[in-house]
């Protein structure tokens, strides 16, 4: 599948080398694990989803370092600095999403067994097996994709993922991945995809198979897992257009990932947020649809995985480009209240947890620290592949280790100490597009520019540079430093969180056109209200530099955005 994608191939090979060296018992040439005979299935209990079975391929992966590392990566990053009980890990989440993905598949099979068995009968999907066995294999591929979907995470989850985009190799690989599947993907998804594609996973599963008793393989089951399809499901795609609904189960506006993390994050933090999963499962639908083949991307993808299928010709006045028939995961219109709950739940999680000012302070500080560390690696000629492997070796405990708290670089060590001991920067100003002032268009344009990919980084850099220059000018403790040194010493930065994105979710009406959620309830009003009143661009600084930061921020904002009104700054200042 990766013949034409050298960066993805390179990263996958590097991951194999690294796993073999680091965990020889599991992934080396003489690997011996799993050592004992494997049970066909085992039961694992989960506080949210109860008692669930996991099958031997999953058990082999769960008991390997690939999944065990996730036990030590907090699902909500540094949110436990604010919500002490938010200690749940990527490991629990990964098991949870297996359960939810499985339940969605079963719910679909219960109501659309005819369609799914017809899909499973197709020559390009069945690989010569009967449709029941093929449906079993498809479900198993879905479960493995769910299990592996977060294996590319590094310390404190998304905080480190944001630094991935600074690694050139991962950026290039993300471009290749986007080309391969015909849709935009970020650096964060590359590693889980490559891990699923690795020889390490394939050989571990093959060895595990030898450890299962023959009588545990039942008739009407197919265990010949297609790991290409598993890797594609992780990034919301599939190896055949008729299997796209499986990609939707793993990664889409209605995906199992969201269903698990929302409830898990809320429950662990102690927040009373719920949605009606039973109704979701009762109503979730499989709908025939089509996907246009933009720039022949899908044709290339299916050729790359060996699926022999051709695009259909455009239809005059209806479908402009060649297209593929497909099946998509949808909720019917009557399930809109479930979607409503999910959307509210997501917005509330942003408000309570992900965008909490102290959580942002901790994660922003970690991001600055990781940026400094990756810059340091570059200056020491540590290449990108080594950087990627370092990240894949980290977990949250690494913050106490030699690359962080015990680093010989005093700045890195001190900042790590602050994170570990919650000596966090304070919020100096918070800006929102809804703050009224004369010339209100300036703040609106500022916020709009922050949403433009090509202007955002430059604008933040300009503002921070002006902030740093002013800090140097007014604070004697920073005299003689450059702007960036002053910002680092004062723990000052401009924090621009990613706003909540409520993906376009289409609700089925049983016929074309389907309707988007916005048709049924005011999702746009909610997101607008959130962003106007609860989404902030903030300026942070260490407590000992807050007074200087207040003055410097004002000068920087006047200078860069052009707002000069006292009342504006008064309303944005965090008073204590």
């Amino acid at each position: 599948m990766l013949e034409s994608y050298p960066k993805l191939r390179f990263i996958t090979a590097k991951i194999d080398e690294d796993l073999a060296a680091r965990h020889a018992e599991f992934f080396g040439a003489q690997a011996s694990r799993p050592f004992s005979r494997l049970k066909r299935e085992k039961v694992i209990h989960d506080p949210l989803w109860g008692t669930n079975s996991y099958y031997w391929p999953e058990l082999a992966l769960i008991d390997s370092p690939l999944l065990q590392r996730l036990r030590f990566i907090h699902q909500t990053g540094l949110a436990y600095h604010v919500y002490p009980s938010a200690r749940h890990s990527r490991f629990e989440h990964s098991l949870g999403i297996v359960t939810i993905a499985s339940r969605i598949f079963e719910a679909l099979f219960e109501r659309y067994s005819g369609t799914i068995l017809t899909i499973a009968k197709e020559k390009e999907i069945s690989h010569g097996r009967d449709s029941i066995a093929t449906a079993h294999r498809l479900k198993q591929e879905l479960r493995l994709a769910a299990l592996l979907h977060d294996t590319g995470h590094s310390l404190f989850s998304h905080a480190s993922e944001r630094v991935y985009s600074r690694i050139g190799l991962l950026q290039d690989a993300a471009e290749e991945l986007s080309d391969l599947i015909g849709k935009e993907k970020g650096s964060g998804e590359v590693l889980s995809f490559c891990i699923a594609k690795s020889k390490s996973v394939a050989t571990l599963l093959e060895r595990a198979r030898q450890k299962v008793r023959l009588e545990d393989f039942r008739e009407n089951e197919d265990w010949d897992i297609d790991l290409d399809n598993v890797a594609l499901l992780i990034v919301g795609s599939a190896g055949h257009p008729h299997l796209q609904f499986m990609g939707d189960i793993i990664s889409s506006g209605l995906d199992a990932d969201k269903l698990d993390y929302m409830l898990r994050d809320a429950s662990s933090a102690g927040l009373p947020l719920r949605y009606d999963l039973e109704r979701y499962l009762y109503t979730v639908a499989l709908e025939s649809d089509y996907m246009v083949d933009v720039d022949s991307a899908l044709t290339k993808l299916y050729a790359a995985v060996g699926t022999k299928i051709s695009a259909r010709s455009p239809v005059k006045d209806r479908i402009r480009l060649p297209y593929y028939d497909t099946y998509r995961l949808r909720l019917p219109k009557r399930a809109s209240s479930t979607m409503e709950q999910i959307v509210i739940c997501k917005i509330m999680l942003f408000s309570y947890i992900y965008h909490h000012q102290k959580v942002r302070a901790a994660e922003g500080l970690l991001e600055k620290l990781l940026t400094r560390i990756t810059d340091d690696w570059k200056s020491r000629s540590i290449d990108d592949s080594a950087a990627v492997l370092k990240f894949l070796g980290y977990d949250d405990c690494s913050i106490q280790g030699e690359d962080f708290l015990r680093s010989s670089d005093e700045e890195i060590s001190n900042t790590s100490y602050r994170i570990v001991n919650r000596i966090l920067p304070r919020e100096v100003y918070r800006f929102s597009p809804a703050i009224s002032h004369s010339g209100g268009e300036l703040i609106k344009e500022f916020f709009l520019m922050l949403r433009e990919r090509e202007k955002r980084a430059g604008l933040i850099a300009e503002l921070e540079k002006a902030l740093g220059d002013e800090l140097v000018r007014i604070d004697k403790r920073l005299a003689g430093k450059t702007a960036s040194e002053a910002l680092w010493t004062a723990g000052a930065w401009v924090d621009v969180p990613k706003p909540p994105n409520v993906e376009e979710v289409e609700l089925s009406t049983g016929e074309y056109p389907t309707v988007t959620i916005e048709n049924l309830f005011p999702i746009e009003e909610w997101t607008e209200a959130y962003q106007a009143h609860r989404y902030y661009v903030r300026v942070y600084a260490y407590s000992e530099y807050v007074d200087s930061a207040i003055r410097a921020t004002r000068v920087a904002v006047e200078h860069i955005i052009g707002i000069r009104e006292n009342s504006f700054f008064d309303s944005c200042l965090r008073k204590r």
């Binding site: 919301g236 996907m291 010339g439 609106k444 916020f447 709009l448 949403r451 990919r453 604008l459």
Partner: protein, 163 residues
């Protein structure tokens, strides 16, 4: 060929603006090359003048417009067009970056939508004043590019009934 505006303000960033109008044009001054957001802003103004409905809830015309712009105008047009990515898992070519920007117009209060149907974007008067200010400084080749884009927009978007 460089697209964008011909004006320069001392060649520095973070300049001391001489007037509010200068400050208002700052967003364009930062981008030396015309980028997606600039084109959406300027096209929205031109489309409004042409009596075109600025669709919001149904994003399809926007995506088809930029998809065609990429196909028909990218060779000699601004460089951002060549790197725009359109996803292949929808009923039409869909650009996530464009979608994000259209939603940002609304969520940053830059443009309103007519409730409760969210059919059409309504541009904020104060903000469009800023955009018009920048419009005056567009290079001739940028104006030509925008007029070619407007021609495609006329084919892809619905018009107001009495326009």
């Amino acid at each position: 060929m460089k697209f964008g505006i011909s004006r320069s303000v001392g060649g520095t960033k973070g300049v001391n603006y001489r007037s509010e109008a200068d400050a208002a044009a700052w967003s364009y001054i930062m981008a030396e090359q015309l980028v997606l957001g600039d084109v959406v802003r300027q096209l929205a103004l031109l489309m409004k003048e042409e009596g075109i409905v600025l669709a919001f809830k149904n994003e399809e015309p926007w995506h088809l417009l930029f998809f065609r712009m990429k196909q028909e105008l990218a060779t000699d047009g601004p460089s951002f067009l060549r790197r725009l990515r359109f996803d292949a898992d929808n009923r039409y070519p869909r650009c996530r970056e464009l979608s994000e920007f259209l939603h940002a117009l609304h969520t940053t209060c830059t443009a309103g939508v007519e409730n409760p149907y969210f059919d059409e974007l309504e541009l904020d008067q104060d903000v469009t004043r800023v955009w018009r200010e920048a419009q005056q400084h567009l290079k001739p080749e940028t104006k030509q590019f925008l007029s070619q884009s407007l021609r495609i927009a006329c084919e892809e978007f619905p018009h107001k009934p009495n326009a």
